[in-house]
Subunit: 246 residues, 2 copies
């Protein structure tokens, strides 16, 4: 039995998220089908972060065990072959010890959120970014973001259906920066996130960017510890699971 | 009668090129349909550069005449409304004099060609770049490109069905540069190009990048003035019509 770790990139647009569900297409279903073509038997794939419908990944991490030992590069190439034409690709693969676990071993997760701030509808970026038409104040958004850095009860930014045991998380980075052209990027880093936490924080920061909220209102929302005190959930389109540290 | 100039962005993937054709979808058909919804009558749209099937535009330029005078910004917003959900957007619009002509007034056209040079199949960039798996030598490609700059008979890089009167063109820039990550960008500038000229030059430069050709072989190919002496046609996927100068 050999355990493999793969770093995976996917365009989330066609998928109902990572997790396997009957009757709909998910990244896990596509990935496990490719793996089954390689080893001729079903193999369960474990993921670092289950992404929601429409959320993308640049560096998702998965692990799985194979009975037969193949070189890691051969696993990558074969999976990429069988994944075609799905917009899912294995970027790297390596053999790891049995004590490696994609989910439970994750020490830090990196997310990025992309906003295209322009009046024209999106073309190339449709489904790959949130198109916000009203001009956003980036410095105000970034100032607001700093109120969320630290260890807090993030109930105000937690989906009501979130299954985490505790609403307390340590947010290590939340930075709003101007990107190329009309793009705004928001970077978020934490050991783990609550369900919809990044999207709920982004939706709230956009209220600040539009001038509807002041930066300090975000601190007030956080302290209220009520989901209704936070801003709306930003669309899945702009969210990217970027990287995991073990 | 008021003439309008619009700068237009489009994702070429769903289209059989710019030009109107019966029975298939083209950017011109989609654009003229949106314009007809605005003014309730058919209006012919003239373009700077007719792009082929699958070719993209970041700054295509069109002009058309309207009987009724609308503010330029209202024309842009209305067209963007009626164009939805097509991946075509008007980036800017302005009123121009009757002597402005999108095609005949073009003094310089700018193209960009995107290659993603990696072993993994493309995900986000599928159809938006040429995925080349073998590692390319960028300095050698750029050295080869310099042999094509100047005024020459470009028959070796001209599609056999090209309808231009003369194969002589003046290429002002052809530069191969490393982009972000695994991306390679090739920038081409000329008053005008022969049919498939950019794609044929790119296909030839990739032969140099792979080491199949030496940079000087490109000069030999140019001087042969035979299409069969040039390299293959690069796919439409990576080609972008970037900008026009008037």
């Amino acid at each position: 039995m050999q355990r493999y770790k793969c770093t995976v990139e996917y365009d989330g647009r066609p998928y109902h998220g990572w997790q396997y569900q009957d009757d709909v297409i998910s990244v896990q279903k596509v990935f496990e089908a490719a793996l089954e073509k390689l080893v001729k038997t079903f193999v369960r794939v474990h993921v670092s972060g289950r992404t929601d419908a429409g959320v993308h990944a640049l560096g998702q991490v998965v692990h799985f065990d194979l009975e037969k030992v193949y070189p890691a590069e051969a696993v990558m190439n074969a999976l990429n072959h069988y994944l075609q034409p799905a917009p899912v690709a294995v970027i790297s693969a390596e053999m790891v010890d049995q004590d490696f676990h994609a989910r439970f071993g994750s020490k830090k997760r990196y997310y990025m959120y992309r906003i295209i701030n322009r009046r024209q509808p999106l073309t190339f970026e449709a489904g790959l970014a949130w198109g916000v038409y009203k001009s956003l104040d980036i410095p105000a958004m970034n100032e607001a973001a700093q109120h969320l850095i630290g260890t807090f009860d993030f109930t105000s930014f937690r989906a009501t259906e979130c299954q985490a045991n505790s609403p307390i998380k340590t947010l290590e980075r939340l930075e709003v920066v101007a990107g190329e052209g009309h793009e705004i990027r928001i970077y978020a880093e934490s050991r783990s996130f609550l369900h919809h936490q990044v999207r709920n924080m982004v939706g709230t920061l956009v209220l600040v960017g539009k001038g509807s909220w002041q930066p300090l209102d975000v601190k007030t929302a956080l302290e209220a510890k009520r989901r209704s005190a936070g801003g709306p959930t930003a669309p899945a389109d702009g969210l990217y699971f970027v990287r995991v540290e073990y």
